[in-house]
């Protein structure tokens, strides 16, 4: 190919704003400055709770996005693993007297191992078996949360206090900052992961299974990696939840929550980190912070369900790439709009 017909895009110099890390840190700083607003009375104190919730759920949604966006698999067990993470964290800190870090590690590792086991069994067969298996496990976990009184506190739920880290006792605002730091870190690590070799392998698996296999990608192994990450993220999300909300009730960790996380991923946009955050915000915060304050509409019972349901229909029909897809179509900064080559590559079957 001649070098003459180069696209001018190739010679564009990246501006310093294109550094993803700078943007992640800015995002973190922005989110972390919200308590100041509520402290100075510009924002209601309860609003901070909603935002904190969004940050927590965003961690789980990022994990599910790895699974759905790259491996094309659906987990309906997000809530179960989140709950498991929350109870393990609470039990480790409150009943066993472990440190915050030890509790966090256990709360992430144990569910991940369980997830790995489920994945090993259900991922050998393609299709929706993972969804079915995770749905079952999640329901079993939910029943266990209700029954295992001595560990989970049963229907009364389990309470913990704000975390104590390195001898420093956190309060609501500082725990909120902790959530921001955790989410920002998760975003950075996720970005690094998907832009590295493992992420490219996941991309290849999604883009062309045959090419991925020919290039040495073990499909089962990479489906397992994606699912374990989704489980680990969910468990971390649950642990962060219990330290921020200070309570964990069985009724929180139901199928509804798993579907909400799924909705956040689909609405936000597959394979997009910021899209996932925005999707989570739309799904959890918009109904409570915005819609409920509207006249007439705000009074409808079950408004969040209706809102999210309509949104999913709209996204699937008009913007399959979610909010991030709309954004990129409008501002195609680094990636040109995809033009499929079907006209030229029309199948020339040999066999």
């Amino acid at each position: 190919m001649n070098e003459m017909n180069e696209s001018p895009l190739a010679s564009l110099k990246p501006s310093p704003w294109s550094s993803p890390y700078l943007r992640f840190v800015l995002f973190g700083l922005l989110a972390a400055s919200l308590p100041l607003l509520s402290g100075s009375g510009l924002m209601k104190s309860s609003t901070l709770n909603y935002i904190g919730n969004v940050l927590v759920y965003a961690v789980a949604a990022l994990g599910l996005n790895l699974l759905l966006g790259y491996a094309g698999l659906i987990s309906l067990g997000t809530a179960g693993f989140m709950g498991l993470g929350s109870y393990i964290a609470a039990y480790a800190v409150k009943d066993m007297g472990l440190s915050f870090w030890a509790a966090l590690t256990a709360a992430v590792l144990i569910p991940t191992l369980i997830g790995l086991l489920i994945g090993l069994i259900s991922l050998r067969i393609e299709g929706i078996y993972l969804a079915i298996a995770t749905l079952c496990v999640s329901e079993i976990l939910l029943k266990s949360f209700e029954q295992a009184d001595s560990i989970t506190g049963g229907m009364q739920g389990k309470s913990v206090s704000y975390p104590v880290i390195f001898g420093h006792t956190f309060n609501r605002s500082s725990t909120y900052i902790l959530l921001v730091v955790a989410l920002t870190l998760v975003m950075i690590l996720t970005h690094n992961f998907v832009s590295g070799q493992k992420g490219r392998a996941l991309h290849a698996m999604r883009g062309s299974e045959v090419a991925a296999q020919a290039m040495g990608v073990n499909l089962l192994q990479y489906r397992l990696i994606a699912f374990s990450l989704a489980t680990a993220y969910a468990a971390l999300s649950g642990a962060l939840y219990v330290f921020f909300i200070k309570f964990s009730y069985p009724s929180v960790w139901n199928l509804n929550l798993s579907l909400y996380v799924l909705a956040a991923v689909v609405i936000g946009g597959l394979r997009s980190i910021y899209g996932t955050i925005i999707g989570t915000f739309v799904v959890w915060a918009v109904p409570d912070l915005v819609l409920k304050k509207l006249p007439v509409v705000g009074g409808i019972n079950g408004l969040p369900y209706i809102f999210n349901g309509i949104l999913i229909i709209l996204v699937v029909m008009f913007a399959p790439q979610g909010i991030s897809g709309l954004w990129q179509a409008k501002f195609p900064l680094k990636r040109k709009k995809k033009e499929k080559e079907e006209a030229i590559s029309g199948k020339k079957e040999d066999e």
Partner: protein, 284 residues
């Protein structure tokens, strides 16, 4: 990566009996059926080291099926595929039949696809980097935290990928997304991707399909260059007879999955069986 003991244990059984010294690949009595259709029927041929070997046949002859049987995308019903894997001291003979698909590239056997299999969302460079997938040693943890080994690997393979793109003359486009690139460029990206794997044998499935005349012209010299610079054997399926006859050292012709002839291009052209297969039987 290579266990020397394994190597020795393999040697007496396979190395001496299955692959002559000058051979890189031997397909032996290969058969596969789909339902009632015998797509490949008792086919045998051998490819010599550093040879450019063509596999031809009329439409539906089963050429791509043969490729898929060699690379283990299909499991042949019968037969063996012996392959000289590794380089230098690690060289050994492996029977490919029964190996997991994803392990084939690690033996030094890498392929392209008839309809280019490129990841549209990734840049050309990232697409090429996928070819080095199995050479990365850093763990997911090291990559997520960008620890030194992960950074080092990424840098060195990026350089290698840039070299492969430059070798094929498309280095200037490396950061553009693959989606929307011309077909000829994508074909080159696929070629560059195979070069990342330090191949001993490259299998090209219709490399000229969809290319215009000048691109096809360029392709034959590229194939020679790849063989010489990257020191490997090339096996190709192609419909463009001009390319096949010009570039191949030897050609194997098949029809309806059966062996017809295996010879130098000139001989193949004159072969009665081959002519019949392509043009139909002469009415006598």
């Amino acid at each position: 990566m290579v266990d020397p003991l394994m190597d020795l244990s393999l040697a007496p059984e396979t190395a001496t009996h299955s692959l002559a010294r000058e051979e890189a690949l031997r397909v032996e009595r290969l058969s596969i059926s789909f339902g009632g259709l015998r797509a490949v029927d008792d086919l045998s041929f051998a490819v010599r080291k550093k040879e450019i070997f063509g596999l031809i046949g009329p439409n539906g002859a089963g050429k791509t099926t043969v490729f898929n049987c060699i690379t283990q995308f299909y499991r042949p019903d019968e037969g063996n595929v012996f392959f000289r894997a590794g380089k230098g001291r690690a060289e050994r003979v492996v029977n490919l039949v029964g190996q997991p698909v994803h392990s084939i590239i690690g033996l030094g056997l890498v392929r392209t696809f008839q309809n280019v299999e490129i990841i549209q969302e990734l840049s050309l460079l990232e697409n090429v980097l996928i070819g080095a997938h199995i050479d990365f040693k850093a763990t997911a943890f090291e990559q997520a935290f960008k620890l030194p080994r992960a950074l080092r690997e990424e840098r060195s393979f990026r350089k290698k990928a840039e070299e492969a793109l430059a070798f094929l003359g498309i280095a200037g486009r490396r950061d553009l997304p693959a989606g929307g690139q011309p077909y000829g460029v994508l074909k080159k990206v696929e070629l560059a991707r195979t070069l990342m794997a330090n191949p001993r044998l490259i299998i090209l499935d219709e490399p000229a399909a969809g290319l215009n005349d000048s691109e096809t012209q360029e392709l034959s010299s590229t194939i020679y260059q790849i063989r010489d610079v990257y020191d490997c054997t090339i096996l190709l399926v192609e419909h463009d007879m001009h390319l096949v006859m010009g570039v191949c050292d030897r050609i194997c012709a098949i029809s309806f999955g059966k062996f017809l002839a295996c010879d130098a291009p000139e001989e193949i052209k004159r072969n009665k069986l081959v002519q019949e297969a392509y043009l139909g039987e002469e009415e006598v």
